[in-house]
């Protein structure tokens, strides 16, 4: 262990990662497994074919208590929270006064409270935002004592149902509080791989036992952050800090689907979230650049930061995520391009080590999402 590693936080599954041969790297202040013995490509393929078990305990978990919690939360996100039915989950964005994205998150109506999951790297900022922004209107309870596991893939449902049969009855973006081997868990049928699957919030002291039980199930193998990244990019999902940040708005980021109808100009509760003027204006008038999928020709991956040029060799955009997609079997990327070049089928070139590499603007996702909708 170097001095740098010693400062990293560890999740409740740290010993298990090490025992499973996890290659530990620094991520958002945590020591996390980028992959295990099988490597990223095998873990990715296994998740798409069977089931991958991911530790996402570095992410922030929060409960909001109080009758006014949903209404208060609507002052921070351009999303319909008050209309979210019990045991239903929704994707949301914290926006800034200028319409930028401060973080993306999941909100679940857990019946007597709201349950939030935020990104690890934004945790401190988000907790401060919640405490300040919701002060006096609801109680904000951070949950450092809970771990978060994600089991993803076509075999996820059978594997989890072997321990908690009720899980199989959930559909995509719904939730249930389940007793799993005596542990008080909060389970949502969701994830960030494009596959069917679940995220399981579990008390930290029960996390390793639960992970081991899941790994005993047929077809379940551990998968690291590397596979999580390749899976989410093939599924067309944004990585905060790469594809979305405070300098990109939801409209530029092609996340218009996440802006609830109720919060739009023609909706029941228009505006009332940070940056509403900018975002609603962009919805009406359009934007100068947009996030798109990019499919490079050949085998060489086009990485984040690569500039995109048009036929006249003018820079018209930039890659924000790029890697080798194991299911696609070639390089995949996404990035921002000027709206005139955002149409699927548009031919552009990326500068890779100074040389132009042809690529095409394509519709996302690269790999069809396979969520379970019942």
């Amino acid at each position: 262990m170097t001095g740098e590693d010693a400062e990293l936080q560890q999740t409740p599954l740290h010993d298990l990662h090490v025992a499973l041969g996890g290659k530990m790297v620094a991520f958002a202040g945590y020591a996390m497994p980028v992959n295990y013995r099988d490597g990223i490509i095998k873990e990715h393929r296994h998740t798409r074919a069977r089931a991958g078990l991911f530790d996402v305990s570095h992410m922030g978990q929060v409960r909001l208590h109080g009758a006014a919690a949903a209404e208060a939360m609507e002052s921070l996100v351009p999303v319909d929270v008050t209309g979210l039915a019990a045991n239903h989950q929704r994707y949301a964005l914290f926006t800034s006064r200028t319409g930028g994205i401060l973080d993306d998150l999941m909100i679940t109506n857990a019946g007597d409270h709201l349950f939030l999951v935020v990104n690890a790297a934004c945790k401190d900022q988000d907790f401060a935002l919640l405490h300040d922004g919701l002060a006096g209107r609801c109680e904000v309870e951070e949950l450092p004592g809970r771990a978060l596991l994600a089991i993803q893939g076509p075999g996820a449902s059978a594997a989890l149902a072997a321990l908690a049969p009720e899980a199989a009855a959930l559909v995509f973006m719904t939730a249930a509080r389940l007793d799993i081997d005596g542990a008080d868990c909060f389970v949502t049928r969701s994830g960030y791989t494009g596959e069917d699957g679940f995220e399981i919030s579990v008390p930290a002291d029960r996390a390793e036992a639960l992970a081991r039980r899941l790994l005993e199930q047929d077809g379940v193998a551990p998968a690291g952050l590397g596979a999580r990244d390749t899976l989410r990019l093939e599924a067309g999902l944004c990585l905060y800090g790469n594809d979305i940040d405070a300098g990109t708005t939801p409209v530029e980021a092609s996340l218009v689907w996440a802006l609830s109808k109720a919060r739009r100009a023609e909706g029941a509760r228009p505006g009332g979230f940070p940056g509403d003027e900018v975002i609603l204006r962009q919805l009406a008038e359009g934007v100068a650049r947009r996030r798109v999928g990019l499919r490079p020709e050949g085998r060489a991956p086009v990485r984040e930061g690569a500039e995109l040029i048009d036929e006249a060799e003018r820079v018209v955009g930039k890659v924000t995520s790029g890697l080798f997609g194991p299911t696609v079997g070639g390089p995949v990327a996404m990035g921002y391009v000027e709206t005139a070049h955002a149409k699927p089928g548009t031919a552009l070139r990326a500068l890779v080590r100074g040389r132009p590499q042809p690529l095409e603007v394509v519709r996302l996702p690269f790999v069809q999402q396979r969520y379970y909708r019942g």
């Binding site: 990223i40 490509i41 590397g226 060489a300 990485r303 080590r353």
Partner: protein, 125 residues
């Protein structure tokens, strides 16, 4: 007579009759993870020791391979274009990158032999 030497950048060079075959070590491929693309120098290219000679891309990142000695490239391993995973499965064999005509044999003295390299890697923890 053949001899194998190693650099601190985790490259190996197998020397036979003044020609060096260059690749990356098992330690290096292990650190990189799954290799998905390799960009190789063309035959005829002249490299000085330390020049960027090739690029090796894993799923998540690109890394450079530096020339361990000076000389002219005589051949590149074109098989890696179709099957870059050989760098992982057979780093000291089928996963070789290129061959170079060694211009300054004295440069080899600055490289490690197998025992020294083994100790070097163990020292990295």
């Amino acid at each position: 007579m053949s001899e194998i030497k190693f650099s601190e950048d985790h490259e190996w060079i197998l020397i036979e009759d003044g020609i060096g075959t260059v690749g990356i070590t098992d330690y290096a491929q292990e650190q990189l993870g799954d290799v998905v693309f390799v960009e190789l120098p063309e035959a005829g290219k002249t490299l000085a020791k330390g020049d960027e000679a090739a690029v090796v891309e894993s799923v998540k990142a690109a890394s450079e391979l530096y020339a361990p000695v000076s000389g002219e490239v005589t051949e590149a391993n074109d098989a890696l274009a179709e099957d870059p995973a050989q760098v992982n499965s057979d780093p000291l064999g089928g996963g070789w990158f290129f061959k170079i005509e060694i211009a300054e044999p004295s440069e080899l003295d600055g490289l490690m032999d197998e025992a020294a390299y083994k100790a070097y890697v163990e020292g990295l923890g």
